[in-house]
Amino acid sequence: MTYSDTTITAAVDNGVDTESLIGARTAFEQMPEAAQFTFRSTCDWVTGTQNRNTLNGYFGLGQEHTRKETFTIAADHPEVFHAADTAPTPPEIVLAALASCLTGGLAAVAQHRGIQLRSARAVVEGDVDVRGILGMDADIRNGFSAIRVSFEVDADASEDDIRALVAQSQKRSAVFDMLTNPTNVTVSVA
């Protein structure tokens, strides 16, 4: 059975440097400790439910890295929750992170399989019963009860090939894994 990925063809350019990624795989096989990364974000309270994350440094390839630019991600809550609505809610940022992770993965897998993307859009929805976070019913969870992602992909490929891209991007996605499998989370006070 040819379950293997098709080889790279020259004409395809999704803006992904697959060759370097394959090179990294080879390097990590020799030196698995270099593959240990730690990412971080620092979140400062502003006022009310408003707060702001700054993201720059991370650890990887055996050393600390500093980026050329510091990124910020702000969060808040909408007016129906009597908040200022200056930024998306944290759960929406999670949905955005999932969509970004799957879409980035889609482009990388497509590049590796020699499929030229023309356009790709993911629409993501999450259902939440807010009685959970309001502590009104112990049987209702705080988080999303269901998340749905719908992809619209225009590419030089058959419908099954596109479905396979979308499936593979889920299989290799960090955020998809974090949302579908439990993760140990430790919160402490410094």
Binding site: M1, T2, Y3, S4, D5, T7, P32, S145, A146, D160, R163, A164, V166, A167, Q168, Q170, K171, F176, D177, L179, T180, N181, P182
Partner: protein
């Protein structure tokens, strides 16, 4: 201390095939077997199991099925008899009831320490198979004490299970067959399904194995796949050795009343926690099946086969919109758990630096070290290396290499 040119460890299909190949090449050898010929087939299989390959597809060097039902599937007693006949016909020099305790290298070859004494040899063939240890995930430690836990090696029949619900973990060939027979015996069954590959038993009028054999799919070599580690770790096809059961897939199991959940992620606070990725695992399985069927259709077109039924595509795998994410194990609903979570070979007695970082035996197409060979592992040299039908070809090639290297030694 007895010394012999070549020792083969294990008298299953791989060891018997290698012995036959060495006899054909006049290489003195002995086969060391912990029990009797086909020991694992006698002692580590459930009662209802039949081979997943048709009778015609158990071809071994100098031996093939000659009975009245080439398209049937052997029961375990028939399989054992088949290997006994092969061993007898090939006059395999088996030393039974001899357990290998340790293998080390010395200046000229290998020392094999057994419970019946030590042997030395120039060449050594590891033919102990790929399924010595039933893998059980670490989270099994969290299972409450009053729940019966079994691996497929210890499971014999549904009658062995306590009354009540059964959680089957794993949806490859073993998991789906056990879920099916345990459900048919009247138990409430929940099946946790991660990666799996759905496949029809027969397609366009022929057994699926007939297609894979004729279309050359089983002949694919290690050089023809771009990720051999992945190819070696693919789950087994969801098949059962019965022409009457075309599918033993998640749809068939759901029709029979089995509840399907995502992969078992962990057991926490007495509760089984399942992954929320079932939909994608079902999609991947359908895609893989359809890719194989398309490959078969292309081959049939090119081969100009006439009178074939038209190509078929099957309804996608169904799954609940919101499959269960948790299952309490302490409330009495689940009384037993079957760990159908894969098998590992056991080379713990092989005291040589021949393992990779993950503890797997490192080999190149069955070559482990000079004079040291392995047989019968998944995709060892070809896609069908771990099938009864595939091990003979590998044995021929390694026997040829062994003979050629012997002549070099002599010169």
């Amino acid at each position: 201390m007895p010394s012999i040119d070549t020792i083969i460890i294990g008298a299953g299909q791989a060891g018997l095939a290698m012995s036959r190949c060495l006899s054909d090449r006049s290489v003195p050898h002995v086969v060391i077997e912990r029990g009797q010929v086909a020991h694992s087939w006698r002692t580590e299989r459930w009662e209802g199991l039949r081979l997943l390959t048709p009778n015609w597809q158990s071809r071994l060097p100098g031996f093939a099925y000659r009975g009245p039902d080439p398209d049937g599937f052997m029961t375990m007693p028939q399989t054992i008899r088949y290997f006994e006949d092969y061993a007898g016909l090939s006059r395999v020099p088996v030393q039974e009831w001899t357990c290998v305790q340790s293998v080390t290298a010395d200046a000229v070859g290998y020392r094999v320490q057994t419970d019946k004494g030590e042997w030395t040899c120039r060449n050594l063939v590891l033919a102990t198979g790929a399924c010595n240890i039933a893998h059980v995930p670490d989270c099994a430690a969290g299972v409450p004490d009053d729940i019966v836990q079994l691996t497929p090696q210890k499971y014999r029949a549904p009658g062995q299970l306590p009354k009540g619900g059964v959680l089957v973990v794993g949806a490859s060939a073993t998991g789906v067959q056990l879920a099916s027979e345990i459900r048919a015996a009247g138990h409430e069954v929940t099946l946790a399904a991660g990666q799996h590959i759905r496949m029809p038993r027969h397609y366009r009028g022929r057994d699926i194995q007939w297609w894979m054999d004729r279309a050359g799919i089983l002949d694919m070599t290690t050089a023809q796949v771009d990720d051999i580690t992945r190819a070696r770790n693919l789950p087994s096809l969801q098949l059962i050795g019965s022409a009457a059961q075309r599918f033993v897939d998640l749809n068939a199991l759901q029709d029979a009343g089995v509840e399907i959940t995502g992969r078992l992620a962990t057991i926490r606070d007495g509760k089984a926690v399942f992954s929320g990725a079932l939909a994608n695992h079902c999609a991947l399985s359908d895609l893989k099946m359809n890719r194989l069927l398309a490959e078969i259709d292309d081959w049939a077109d090119a081969a100009d086969m006439t009178g074939l039924p038209a190509p078929e595509r099957f309804a996608p795998t169904r799954h609940a919109t919101l499959p269960r994410l948790g299952l309490p194990l302490s409330e009495g609903r689940i009384r037993s758990i079957i760990w159908a979570t894969g098998f590992r070979p056991d080379f713990s007695w092989l005291h040589m630096p021949v393992f990779d970082r993950k503890g797997r035996l490192a080999h190149d197409n069955g070559h482990v070290a000079p004079g040291l060979y392995v047989l019968g592992l998944p995709f060892l040299r070809h896609r069908n290396s771990a099938l009864i039908d595939g091990v003979g070809r590998d044995a021929q090639a390694l026997a040829d290499h062994l003979v050629a290297s012997r002549h070099r030694h002599a010169a």
